[in-house]
């Protein structure tokens, strides 16, 4: 049994087919990166997984249950969503935004209890951003907002975390901070799925990668196995070399573009 498995999933906007018979399984406690050029259907795939869109055909299974058959709050208890850019309009306190992660567990009046607030405080601690608790959400940096949204997903106590380009718009330091956190979360048993534009990030943090091109999976498997010059050429139509270097106690792989044709 997999936390998520997708069978022959297809989706279209009108006549334009966005996803074509996509199938894959996700294992517990892994980080999966979905890679692909712009317009390859990455975000659509995530939104289908979240149940925001209805598939044209195919199934999404959460454990043993069909996603369609689960009611919204049950879904929310199993699966949390970290959106790409949060367009906050009102300046809620960070702690209030994070505590909203308890909504799936709240009563019919959406009552958030003191216990919920202390859980939210713990999750801020866990991510090392407890100093942000009282700040207005609209006034913290993009990286801090992204971390706050991850904290909200943790408060939700879901076993699956779905993230849409979590590093987009973050500076380099914040990107690394976020990637490290992802690794830590996966180690604690949470299954993470994210879209990304950086094959390097997939090499650094994720066990698995899925290559999506024009709505079809062209490769899926262990990141180290499938992220190579040949596949990246196929995926992005660019010449890229993979180098391995020592970094602290780890061997890290990096992508180096080849600019010979200039």
């Amino acid at each position: 049994m997999y936390p998520i498995s997708v069978e022959n999933l297809s989706f279209a906007w009108g006549k334009h087919k966005v996803l074509d018979s996509v199938s894959f399984n996700i294992e517990t406690g892994t980080v999966t990166s979905i890679l692909g050029p712009n317009g390859s259907g990455k975000t659509t795939l995530l939104k289908l997984l979240m149940g925001f869109y209805t598939p044209l055909s195919g199934h999404i299974l959460l454990g043993n249950d069909d996603l369609k058959s689960l009611d919204l709050s049950l879904r929310a208890k199993k699966m949390a969503y970290v959106p790409q850019r949060h367009s906050a309009v009102f300046s809620y306190r960070v702690l209030d935004v994070v505590a909203l992660g308890r909504i799936p567990y709240s009563n019919v009046f959406c009552k958030i209890t003191n216990h919920d607030y202390s859980l939210a405080g713990n999750c801020l601690n866990q991510l090392g951003i407890e100093h942000l608790a009282e700040r207005p959400y609209t006034e913290i940096s993009g990286g801090e907002q992204q971390l706050a949204l991850i904290a909200r997903a943790l408060v939700q106590q879901a076993e699956i975390l779905i993230m849409d380009e979590p590093v987009s718009g973050l500076d380099y330091g914040n990107q690394l901070l976020l990637l490290k956190q992802l690794r830590r979360l996966a180690r604690s048993g949470i299954t993470c799925i994210k879209t990304t534009h950086y094959p390097e990030h997939a090499l650094w943090t994720s066990d698995r990668a899925i290559f999506l091109r024009e709505g079809k999976i062209i490769a899926a498997g262990n990141s180290v196995d499938i992220i190579n010059s040949e596949m990246l050429k196929k995926l992005y139509n660019a010449d890229i070399k993979i180098l391995e270097s020592e970094a602290g106690s780890h061997k890290m792989r990096t992508c180096v573009p080849i600019f010979d044709d200039i």
Binding site: P83, Y92, R93, D96, V97, L100, I103, P104, F109, C110
Partner: protein, 337 residues
């Protein structure tokens, strides 16, 4: 705002509301001594004749009490709906007036008045057209791509001008001797013509609507995060927003049916409340209700006592709202980004 501070603010506002309500009952063209209600209209304590005491009692219970309650609840209803619309549409710039709800309801009420003499038909039709107006605004905003904040305002402008023109068409068609003046005076807004029987039928609904929105204020917080996030938190966005739209539009249309088009309250009061307690709807909505009630009662008192003749309250709220809103705008720009 912390819990203790919030509770203190609530107590303070309730105290102000009680005092202003008490004072409002005693002021007006017929001057009534301030001790009248407290003394139970006792002629001896007040030092007046028995007949005057009876007159005072009738004036207060038959005329002023329904009017004061109407002003108070309409203020609360408009402010609460403004706060609710702003959160559920994630847009601090919308209000019952800007979404076209007030003009839609006004058109509906005028149509109802023209077609039937029944107050109930007028109110029902006000509600139906209020819903159609807000539906049109939301539909137009969805239909055309673009900046979400601005498109909803544009949708509201279109919907509101559509119903304003339809309303003009009705006034044009109305009989110039009887119906026309009635419709025009009612449109300018005012509580002078509200009968106590009409008020006591409508006000309980308004009260229940306000209470429902206050109890649903937790949903407003979730909805203000955006549709997909709210759904990912396990909320049925369509149903909860639809329920909230129905209740908010209902109480707005009831204010229109009772007191005409009273603009600015629904935009201004939530902003003032937000300056006091921040954007959390669980505090914002009840605070808006109290501030709205105090504000509209205050303005209504000015309307009926400050000048020899009565001024329509819609004119007064706009006159007071414009400078006040400029002040609010100058102090809140950072909160909107």
């Amino acid at each position: 705002m912390t819990h203790t501070k919030f509770r203190l603010t609530l107590v303070l506002l309730i105290a102000i509301l009680v005092i202003i309500t008490y004072v409002s009952l005693h002021i007006g063209t017929i001057k009534i001594p301030m001790a009248a209600v407290i003394s139970g209209f006792d002629a001896q304590t007040l030092g007046i004749s028995h007949e005057s005491a009876l007159t005072f009692k009738t004036v207060i219970s038959e005329i002023r009490l329904p009017r004061v309650l109407t002003a108070l609840l309409c203020g609360a209803a408009l402010a609460v709906s403004g706060a609710a619309y702003q959160s559920m549409f994630m847009n601090p710039l919308v209000s019952p007036a800007l979404l076209g709800v007030l003009s839609g309801s006004a058109f509906g009420a005028a149509l109802g008045m023209l077609l039937s003499k029944s107050m109930f038909v007028a109110q029902l039709s006000a509600f139906v057209f209020g819903i159609i107006a807000v539906g049109a605004a939301v539909f137009l905003a969805r239909f055309f791509p673009g900046n979400r904040l601005i498109m909803l305002i544009m949708g509201g402008v279109i919907s509101s001008s559509l119903f304003t023109s339809l309303l003009s068409a009705i006034t044009f068609a109305a009989d110039a001797k009887n119906e026309l003046p009635a419709i025009v005076y009612w449109l300018m807004g005012g509580f002078s013509a509200v009968s106590s029987s009409a008020a006591y039928v409508v006000l309980p609904f308004m009260m229940v609507g306000i209470i429902i929105i206050i109890t649903m204020s937790g949903y407003l917080n979730v909805l203000s995060m955006g549709d997909e996030e709210a759904a990912s938190l396990g909320i049925n966005v369509k149903n909860s927003r639809a329920a909230l739209i129905v209740v908010t539009t209902l109480i707005c249309s009831l204010t229109v049916a009772l007191g005409g088009m009273i603009g600015w309250v629904g935009l201004m009061i939530p902003h003032i409340a937000r300056m006091i307690c921040g954007p959390d709807n669980r505090q914002l909505v009840p605070l808006s209700a109290l501030i709205g009630a105090i504000y509209l009662l205050f303005v209504d008192n000015i309307c009926r006592t400050a000048f020899a003749g009565e001024i329509p309250i819609g004119i007064m709220t706009s006159l007071m709202g414009v400078p006040f809103f400029i002040l609010v705008l100058s102090r809140t720009e950072s909160r909107w980004n």
